[in-house]
């Protein structure tokens, strides 16, 4: 049986751990709040871009009336023989099942599409580490060179990693997201890939999150998400998340964005005849790639918020477990101590009786 000293040491160590997990939880809560604000601040632009695009597409018939061909390469739907999958994971662990869930969804998708060639673009250190173990890295070939020579990259395997973007989410900027989007758009327009899917953790609010597989290219309908698969949160998970949020002062309600959204969706859609400075088709051409950039940036913002929320929840659970452990050990320690005292008394008493 463990002695009192050992137990006391054990309790102290668990207490220290609890301190750390508690601090991590509070830090995650603060970061979550900031991430939520950033996602919120990015909404007007996204809404406005979507609404102006929508009205443009309606004005400029994207299909050529004579030939029936699509006027913009990003709207062209082709049979999917080579697809690109962008997997957005986190850079750090200690976030419960966050990274696992995203990777699981990605793997499920890869298994479903066992008949096509797949290029992987991985955002986040955690995803990179896992994917590297199972798949090979593609031979690097300059996108521009490919466009120039109009030929396909030679493949080493059916599934290859074409890009890794670790540390991108730590200080996420639109520019970086746009850079990646630009590459994707480029590859799509030279038909290096036939569709681009995005696997990420969507964040609607603290208690409404899901892992999504969304197709971002070709653009099918503007303003609507083309969702290929979704994994909703479990009820238990949702409750745990709500509890963690309450105890660390993160509000569960999402800010009321309806008014701002409505205002933003009026952009470029007023019931008047606009003068187009450039021909509408040209405007459309400039806008579509930006729409992709925005979608990618948005997915990353949401993923960051979801990661912090997951970490907050995991750390809340860890803190609670530590507390339970401390209670159990304290009880055990007291029992051991009492047993020792009782034993000593018995020894003294029986010693006295023997005299």
């Amino acid at each position: 049986m463990a002695n009192v000293l050992d137990l006391r040491r054990r309790i102290r160590s668990v207490k220290n751990t609890r301190q750390i997990t508690k601090a991590m939880k509070m830090v995650s809560a603060a970061k979550l709040r900031r991430a939520q604000e950033r996602a919120f601040a990015a909404r007007p632009y996204a809404k406005m871009l979507a609404s102006v695009l929508d009205s443009l597409v309606r004005r400029v018939d994207p299909y050529d009336p004579e030939t029936g061909e699509v006027r913009h390469p990003l709207l062209a739907v082709r049979p999917e023989k080579r697809v690109t999958v962008v997997v957005v994971t986190g850079d750090k662990g200690f976030a419960g099942a966050f990274n696992t869930n995203v990777l699981k969804a990605a793997h499920r998708f890869l298994n479903q599409r066992s008949d096509v060639d797949i290029d992987l673009e991985i955002v986040g250190r955690k995803g990179r580490d896992v994917m590297r173990r199972s798949f090979t890295t593609a031979a690097v070939m300059d996108d521009e060179q490919m466009a120039h020579e109009m030929r396909l990259r030679e493949r080493k395997a059916r599934i290859e990693i074409t890009g890794e973007h670790a540390g991108m989410l730590e200080k996420l900027s639109f520019e970086e997201a746009a850079h990646l989007a630009h590459q994707l758009v480029e590859r799509y327009s030279i038909q290096q890939t036939h569709a681009v899917y995005l696997v990420f953790n969507e964040f609607q609010s603290v208690i409404a999150q899901r892992v999504l597989v969304e197709r971002i290219l070709p653009i099918k309908e503007i303003g609507k998400d083309d969702i290929a698969a979704a994994t909703e949160m479990e009820r238990e998970e949702r409750e745990a998340m709500a509890k963690a949020a309450r105890s660390s002062g993160v509000s569960l309600e999402t800010e009321d964005t309806r008014e701002a959204d409505e205002e933003a969706s009026k952009f470029g859609t007023a019931q008047v005849d606009y003068i187009y400075e450039q021909p509408p088709r040209q405007l459309l051409q400039a806008l579509l790639p930006r729409y992709i950039s925005m979608q990618l940036y948005h997915a990353m913002l949401e993923s960051v918020a979801a990661e912090h929320a997951a970490r907050m929840m995991a750390m809340d659970a860890a803190t609670q477990n530590a507390s339970e452990m401390i209670d159990a050990y304290t009880l055990k320690m007291n029992r051991v101590r009492q047993a020792a005292i009782t034993k000593e008394i018995i020894e003294i008493v029986s010693g006295a009786a023997a005299l």
Partner: protein, 142 residues
């Protein structure tokens, strides 16, 4: 004039709403040249190039911003600018812009016979030049 014919101006970037205020007039760098917007301008949609957005009068006072590529919607009583990036001229990193300019020239030289790459290089050069011009125009007093 008895009433002030001011227009509502919003400058929105992917990261946040940069400005939400009013102004008497706004000048914008459209893709095909600068344009000035006053109250009761005809509805207009235009693509923005790189350059300076200037707000005159209104509750925010005279202000200048450097924007790079975006989109603008003009309605009689308001102007909404969607810009991919927006900075105040005195916050421009001139050194970085110069590097970009050099990079642009390099791209131009290497573009070979492909018009698409020329266009891209020209875009980079144009943006860098405008950026430098905006930074120098602002000067230390701005």
């Amino acid at each position: 004039m008895a009433e002030t014919n001011s227009i509502r101006v919003r400058l929105v970037t992917p990261e946040h709403v940069f400005i939400d205020g009013t102004a008497d007039s706004v000048s914008l760098p459209s893709r095909s040249g600068y344009l000035e917007v006053l109250y009761a301008h005809a509805p207009l949609l235009a693509e923005l190039g790189a350059g300076e957005v200037t707000l005159h009068g209104g509750n925010v006072g005279d202000q200048q911003f450097f924007v790079a590529w975006g989109f603008v919607e003009v309605l009689p009583d308001r102007v909404t600018i969607l810009a991919e990036s927006a900075v105040r001229p005195n916050q421009i990193d001139v050194e970085e812009a110069r590097q970009e300019l050099e990079q642009g020239h390099k791209m131009w030289n290497e573009a070979g016979d492909e018009s698409r790459r020329y266009a891209e290089a020209n875009q980079v050069i144009h943006e860098a030049e405008e950026r430098i011009a905006a930074a120098e125009g602002a000067g230390p007093t701005a």
